[in-house]
Symmetry: D2
Subunit: 324 residues, 4 copies
């Protein structure tokens, strides 16, 4: 990779708090090296249609505290088609863009690996509230989402305790249970239903609640990761089997938005700057990652090959014990 | 009503932030007059089963910032039956309780009026997030609920803007649209669907969104009061008719809980103290209310006879104009 | 006043949450009547230097949730000088501006009354966290500031309770004690020091704390309005006289900022729209106000002549009783 | 160390959010092993005076979301004296307590090492917002404090921008700059003054602000760690040297309190459980620590011998670059 004079930055997939801090750090770091930055709108879609804005320091100076992404985002169907990836690559060459920084989750990574065939140098930054990028311990947005879910459940619990009810709360996370695990442990949940541990059997939850009901407890909390099971049906089942009045809450899109936490602003800044450092070193087709709380990077193909369906074992065991 | 030496206080119906401040003020005000206070648990249910706790200053000193109600609450089916109301009245007499302060919404009031026949002196305080007690401009919990809904919609909007979507958000309020009106106006909603104005016709919403879509707007927000229509179906209809990607969020129980706002703590304190002042004056069968932002009180029978299905007209007209 | 075709809007004095909602409603309401709006930057300073921006719907669509003021603000020394007011008036005439909407506090009002002599039609909106505009029960920003102060004191109390200390917290309010009264009552303060009631005598505070210390209480909270006394010296005095370890916190500028509460967004919207309604009716030299929770308006000269150094009497008496 | 049947847990030094989660996990983990737990009040003071409470599951079930410490805390002068440590040790033996879990910062650790001479088995958990325990990358409370400081500065910035001022904000951290570094980077500070990098020379700050003033910037933010310099004097110096209106805010005790973040609840839970695991393995005189984001433990004497006055170098360099 020859010397870089101009880069493009985009955000793709589900929006995640902290993406803006990463964009900001990309712009500041590039500017520091004399590299020009163009912002691509709506993820890979904007590459295909060449919807872009120039990004200078003044455009990103105070965006750390903004939720969502100032560059907008999308899940691009067209980018799965080689024809459109070729158009996108031609657009980049036509505008003298030397490399792309793409901030997003798993889908973003899968787009990036295919884009390599078009001869485009790309560096990815893991940004998704779901914490489901296997190569990285952390993905931007998780901390904000976990805190938002926790604060919502704290509120739900107030009502649950006042009425002596069981609250069944569904949180996001796609195929991973980290938001459920963190938000559930932080709110002293009686049971946390995680996709990584789910065997289709509700008996242990019913039995646990029944026992606590017998012990005289007067409120209950079950946190369920989305996609594991229907939270409404679980609430009905609990009510039917235990006699405890049960209500369901689906937290939904509030978990995506909101002003980012300090961690998401800090790690967004770190990852954005590190992406530019990788490009400065003349390397491409890499993804920034966190390993042992340190910034590292992987080849994108290698990163995609990794699979990780394990929860932290100590955290998981602890979650069972603390639910007693 | 002879001199009062001992009173009972209870919270009933849906829990609402600010109920604890009202309980605190009842206890402090009563204590100041040398009146003993007993807290009844789980609303009218606790009167029937005589589940009570003594309430001294130390029991309520620092509860202003707690969500929910420390006395727990319920919707009592049994209290609708004269037989159980008689048991409740006998319990009060057996424990030398001279009067009851009941904090709750419409259902609480309807219980109170019937309880009068048992010879029990009762003063009600309007406490419900729905702001649906006709005699009072304000009911405890509304301000906290409106702010919670607003903050949640602020977050949802971040994601909605990032993706260029339409968000359809359902908020609470039972038969009244105040939470929807306040939260919708505060978040710059494109349309607010209110029970008081609902004629079963979605055309004006569809047309408004279609026009804005044509004008090049890239995100949309519709706030719907619960019970008016199915928010999920509305989202589907919008997507089908306008082509705008639409998603639904049902805020649910987060709107009931959470630390009360300054207004709910202040008005809870004022209403609690005013209830004791009414009893000190030897009056009973009254409900505390706010009229022109001033504390007043009504005969309970008169209060129940009032009906109010009007929204503030200036606020409503403004909501239409500000949605342009 | 002939028909209005173009108006200017500005914010002046201390910034207050809710000013942006008022600006937004001014622009939407004017637009609805076909009136053009120009935004004047930095208050009266921008009138003198003619620093302005055009304000269309798109410029203000989503500013309800932004703290501070998008038009910036200042306390203009020059505007006190007739020479500069004349320049400002000439600027307005040169740009065909028919009337001005000025959002601010007492100083803004005093500027407005003098500006009348230059033949400029002006309508004021009370915007200041201090709630110190005598003609209006409410001023934009108070609710947000009271909640911010309350939430900060809730946090300080956590530390105070953990250490068994006395916290002395200074809040804003200039010459009025409303922020102190609301934030103090909402946080169960042991004493609230208010400018309206201050007689220079600390004895009652010292005696109250000493008595509670003897009673075995293990933490204490005193809320002081700025300008009454030095909060640091009061903390020292408490420690010296009672032996209770005491610490001071000055909340400062956090009370001015932050996303506005639902009330400040709603009342900002209402007041902004009402200001345009006044102009539509061909009236000028008025100030929008809240009386008995209803929108009204006063002649500016009359409003300035009003004085109000009374706190709500019931609220004040209650604050003493609830501190027991 | 023979089999453990009864332990004591205490919190000591400055209170920190997350201490309650650690206490909760200690109680749940001990209960799981059949170990009895006694809570010692007010840190080492309570050991000397044997002020204790029994701690069962019901006593700690829902304390995760409470700020401060339910066990109260103190900085014990007496515990520095061997005579009182001996009394404390005798108290423990008299009540058949086999080991102590002490949650606190540097001072707590220094007490613990001396206590070893009395033959008491102790395990420490690093709990302090200052992140100044050399052996551990993380200390409980830091994340909450960094977020609280960040949110307060976000608010201050609203006012600062509206007035075109420079805000100088002092944050906590004792001798470490981590709160300043995180809160400053997260709020896009123009300069961050850190004890680790402080050379007594303000020139670089003055020059940087002067340059930005010339460039036409209209607001400025300087974040200063406590103890480095007088923030008020720095504000005066900035105003004098650059002509920019400058105001100081000292955040103070709000940084200690508040409901803990998800991280502090999670890491409090992890550290509390890990402390019991250490005792279960028959080991004592250890401190729980985080290294590479993993739970580890050190001998207390070794931990005290460690010194760490280095900030993360990449974070620090980035903070300079992002302030441009």
């Amino acid at each position: 990779m020859s010397e870089i004079k101009k880069i493009a930055v985009l955000t793709s997939g589900g929006d995640a708090p902290g993406m803006n801090s990463a964009v900001r750090a990309v712009v500041f770091s590039a500017n520091n090296l004399g590299i020009e930055v163009v912002g691509v709108l709506r993820g890979y879609e904007g590459l295909i249609d060449w919807e872009t804005v120039p990004l200078g320091l003044d455009d990103v100076r105070n965006i750390n505290n903004q939720g969502g992404t100032i560059l907008f985002t999308s899940r691009s169907e067209r980018f799965l088609d080689q024809k459109y990836r070729h158009i996108a690559a031609e657009n980049l060459r036509a505008h003298d863009v030397d490399a792309v920084v793409a901030i997003g989750g798993d889908g973003t990574l899968r787009g990036a690996i295919k884009f390599k065939d078009e001869g485009v140098d790309i560096v990815c930054i893991p940004g998704t509230i779901d914490r489901d990028v296997a190569c990285s311990e952390y993905t931007l947005g998780f901390d904000t989402a976990a805190n938002t879910a926790m604060e919502a459940i704290d509120k739900i619990r107030d009502s649950s305790v006042s009425h002596g009810r069981c609250s069944v709360v569904e949180v996001m996370g796609r195929k991973r249970g980290y938001i459920a695990l963190w938000a559930g442990m932080a709110t002293s949940a009686d049971a946390i239903v995680l996709p990584e541990k789910w065997d289709g059997n509700f008996d242990y939850i019913i039995n646990a609640l029944r026992k606590r009901h017998t012990d005289g407890r007067n409120s209950y909390l079950v946190v369920v990761a989305e996609g594991v099971t229907d939270a409404g049906k679980l609430a009905d089942l609990i009510q039917k089997e235990t006699g405890i009045e049960s209500r369901v809450s689906v937290l939904g899109y509030i978990q995506r938005g909101g002003q980012p936490t300090a961690k998401d602003r800090m790690y967004g800044s770190l990852m954005g700057a590190y992406a530019i450092e990788i490009l400065r070193q003349g390397r491409g087709n890499r993804i920034v990652a966190i390993k042992n709380d340190i910034l590292v990077d992987y080849d994108i193909a290698e990163a995609i090959g990794l699979h990780n369906n394990n929860l932290d074992s100590f955290q998981y065991q602890l979650s069972l014990m603390l639910a007693e």
